[in-house]
Symmetry: C2
Subunit: 153 residues, 2 copies
Amino acid sequence: MQKKAIDQLTAYLTGQGLRSTSQRDAILAIFVEAGRHVSAEELYARVKKEHPGIGYATVYRTLRLFAEAGLAEEQRFDDGFTRFEYKNSSGHHDHLICTRCGAIMEFENERIEALQHDVARRKKFKVLSHKLELYGLCERCQGNQAASKTKQK
Amino acid sequence: MQKKAIDQLTAYLTGQGLRSTSQRDAILAIFVEAGRHVSAEELYARVKKEHPGIGYATVYRTLRLFAEAGLAEEQRFDDGFTRFEYKNSSGHHDHLICTRCGAIMEFENERIEALQHDVARRKKFKVLSHKLELYGLCERCQGNQAASKTKQK
DNA sequence: GTACATATTGAAAATGGTTATCAATATCAT
DNA sequence: ATGATATTGATAACCATTTTCAATATGTAC
């Protein structure tokens, strides 16, 4: 439910001496409902539809705020813009990204994670975060040779 | 030796109906000598020292050319700018990136690669390339709490 | 070798996603 | 309610990278 998200945001705001505003609530609601891996631009479009008064900068600022509050995770793939993912309790996961249609799939594999830590340990490196992305063609795009090219962007 | 690199570049150029120029040769020589993971900016600085006449745009263009020719690999980490790595015969590898001093280390692990392909196969995804980056603190930076911050940009 | 079609270059302007600026406005503690 | 100040919206600024375009260099045909 969004209830949890709103509470988490409120807790963060009061904890930091920040203020809760109608814009923040509105953007959060839309962000939570929005699909995963939303870019700021996409989110702005959705927000604008319901709240024409909210500006571009506010969406960017608020998304950064969500990230600081632990509500969102920033993801920079190779397509130029930053995407944000609503961070519910579910754990970390990595991504499969179709370079043709832009589809993004998720996966998690604890064996890979374990091996990563082995590698790091061997180099005496302390891992704080990691990023694993597999780029290629999704099932559908392997078939549709010339076709496809879903909205994306 | 650079001989190989120059030959590879020449082969690509003639094959594509492009021309070889003193700038391209000069930039290639410096690129091959330069450390791994050079950003365009860094390379430009080095090039400028030996060849003050060469412009910024030419360095960028040439780096892209090298990538197309298979001589360089583009790498976009989370630090904002694109880096290029001279692609000699040695195989693919992934990176450990120190978020404090910017140090970049390499590693390869065929078990991780194998698991990646398992994941992809299960999702019927055709992997064309992948990116695995571990962010954290290198050995030195784990010690030097406040210290450090080597040149890096 | 010379001339020509055109690929390439350098300098500067343009791009594009994201961030900073700033006056107007809204929020919250008092 | 009131005041201190956090927030907003519009717009300008950022900044790495790409384009533009006139001047120049290269490879080919003669």
